[in-house]
Symmetry: C2
Subunit: 437 residues, 2 copies
């Protein structure tokens, strides 16, 4: 059903492997963070449940197979291949780092071991399914770090690249530490706290701002957040103070957040509303949050939209999905790409997270520290239920707290030490020699 959700070349290669008699060969592919996104000291792995769903349901409908059959690229392909697609299922293994794990340049996020066609077809989907939420979880973690304990709420669905990206982005932002999201479906599907009360249209729909504020309180009570900047934020704050309790507080969505939040705080305090909070939103990101707090802005919570939902300063990431070994009836051949600027590392791997450094080793090695890649699917079956979303969120928080403080800063720092084990270095050398021979 989702078999066509991939690049055509995965399917032409599938036909080619089949026709070349390679369908029985077992391949190991790894999805690796080649480079960290710009401005990042780490990324937070996310997206694994979508990968699992995809692999466990990967198949081709009769209609989809007919479509492929009609493409010019498949003109020379035998009927046996299309019969093969009809009963296609993923029967292989998936190893992956748990969601919420910080990763660094050069580290694999997952590995697939399966008959080569089953391992090849998922490439496109897996890359999209992992890199996008990983970018968002990472951006969220930075915003949360900048907010220094104040809640950050994900507000970005309207800027996400499709509404579905809004839902999955909200989920990833929660893993990265956001306190909640404006996305209602993300709340319904994943149990994430949902937040939000009113937009400018609410205020505009009433002849006067005070009436709009009072009507909102009638419906939302203690949950009320008065949006005060439809016309003039200072006048708006005065009217919110006049409307008084019940309310959680006010929201400021534009303008000079620093100066205005100070004036608003004074207005609320003077009206005896010391417990009313101020939320800021509108063109915020981790840098603006940090600068506002450093300047002493009396802001209690942040809503972050566009920049978070699109990972605005780094909307893509150099991740690769590369063939690292082939097993032909028990005989292994290690593979790597050695072209000029884009190199891959041969052999199935494991990452050991030790104090202060990570060691990338061959998969059979016994290393020191936590082994990050764990079996998720074996022989086409889920090994055990995936960790709950809350666990992924806690893993991210705990792992970040254990990192060197310099890596949690917003500025690019000295990278974490990521080294290859002796055995892996030997394998790289040997593979290079074999390939050049």
């Amino acid at each position: 059903m989702n078999g066509l959700l991939t690049d055509l070349y995965e399917l032409t290669m599938a036909a080619g492997y089949f026709e070349a008699g390679k369908a029985e060969e077992k391949a190991t592919f790894e999805l690796t963070i080649r480079r960290l996104p710009e401005h990042r000291n780490y990324v937070i792995a996310a997206g694994l449940p979508q990968v699992v769903d995809y692999l466990l349901n990967l198949s081709f409908s009769a209609e989809e197979i007919d479509y492929l059959r009609g493409l010019p690229q498949f003109r020379g392909v035998s009927g046996a291949f299309f019969d093969y697609l009809r009963s296609f299922r993923f029967t292989g293994d998936l190893f992956a780092v748990p969601e919420g794990t910080p990763l660094f340049a050069g580290e694999p996020a997952l590995g697939i071991r399966a008959p080569i066609i089953e391992a090849q077809i998922p490439e496109t989907y897996l890359l999209a399914a992992i890199t996008f939420p990983t970018l968002i979880a990472s951006k969220a973690a930075r915003s949360v770090e900048a907010a220094a304990g104040r809640p950050v709420v994900e507000f970005g669905t309207r800027r996400a690249h499709t509404a579905e990206a809004g839902v999955l982005g909200a989920r990833a932002a929660f893993i990265g530490g956001c306190a909640g999201t404006s996305n209602t479906l993300a709340g319904f599907r994943y149990g994430i706290p949902v937040m939000g009360t009113a937009a400018h249209s609410w205020v505009m729909s009433f002849p006067g701002e005070l009436e709009a504020f009072r009507q909102l309180q009638r419906v939302l009570g203690e949950s009320t957040v008065q949006l005060i900047d439809t016309y003039d934020p200072i006048e708006g704050a005065r009217r919110a103070a006049q409307a008084g309790r019940p309310m959680w507080g006010v929201r400021l969505d534009s303008g000079d957040h620093l100066g205005v939040s100070r004036q608003v705080r004074a207005i609320l305090d003077e009206a005896g509303l010391r417990d009313a909070k101020i939320m800021a939103s509108g063109d915020l990101d981790e840098y603006r949050i940090r600068d506002l707090l450093a300047a002493g802005a009396p802001i209690d919570a942040f809503g972050v939209g566009t920049q978070l939902a699109t990972s605005g300063d780094a909307p893509s990431m150099g991740a690769i999905y590369k063939l690292v070994e082939v097993d032909i009836h028990g005989i292994k051949r290690f593979t790597a790409k050695f072209s000029e600027d884009k190199i891959s590392v041969p052999g199935a791997k494991q990452v050991f997270r030790d104090v202060g450094r990570d060691v990338i080793a061959r998969s059979g090695e016994c290393g020191k520290g936590e082994a990050l890649l764990r079996p998720v699917i074996l022989g086409g079956r889920l090994v055990e239920p995936l960790p709950a979303l809350e666990q992924a969120r806690r893993r991210a928080a705990d792992s970040l707290a254990a990192l060197a403080p310099s890596l949690r800063q917003l500025e690019v720092a000295e990278p974490r030490a990521v080294i290859y084990s002796r055995e892996l270095r030997m394998l790289i050398e040997q593979t290079r020699r074999n390939l050049l021979a």
Copy 2:
């Protein structure tokens, strides 16, 4: 079924409008390009079929309503509102510019006129559904412009923000002028030409490059594109030449595209393969395409991935969805936002595209030129089938050809003249005066 695919505040406002007795009020909202994305002289409107699908299917399941009922924000909301949601349907009107229409800053892409709750709830979805494909169609148009007649193929699904964004991005890229996509599902769903043959893993899965090339030809024949840079692009080109015909040509995915493409051309020509083409891919965008061609690179086709699929240099766009008028039993009130840096323009509008300039007018006015906003849904029903994808693509091409050449350049140019009609200017003044009173 898709009722929760929106920000929570749309639904708390819905409850508020209901409780405040405003459910019968008719509202007009407009989705407007507030600012063009960075580095852009225009955008190409796209995404309308997704908007139509959404509006025609907008509803709430019993389970979704129960979820809302359990949220703290809805504690004070009466049962009558949830009954209302149970039979909720979109019964209003949608006016929109056809897909493929170039738009400029300040211009509305669509307008909704409906009972205020029906017009409010879609805000979040509509913004995401229009801005993302509009960004991609625009980026594609720039890449196609830079390629000066050579085909540009969309290769970016793996970098898209979810696989679904890859499919819708491929569709938008086709509207913007791409010749095809690597996304197979986009081909299946929308009839877009699909392209692609083999990745590095194909080459790596064979002990030798030459064998990999010959096996690919066996399967793909004339469709074969040999990927020559797995180990060394010059050696790869020699082996591709040795494998000879049949092939469409070769692909170069990394390194110095200019220098290597020249050497590859010479190798192919020398082997008598003058008709074999060279495709370039790997970290390309409109600027690199332009520079490569300006330097005389013998490249016949371009595959553009990451930058196109994410609109990398402008991954978001300042679009707004604002209430412009309310109609309470036949009495209209015009609304606008007049806060410091974010202003909206009151009243339902029309855009007249005239020679050399656009006039934004009030919706009832008769202007000069083409009226861009057309009825799509009236009274909850589709007026006529939407134009076919090919028509949208042609509209984009024809409209771009009719623009001032400076606007089609990659650099930011003098903006197209977009002015308000006299009537609209009067309405703005009058609304401002009323609101300040």
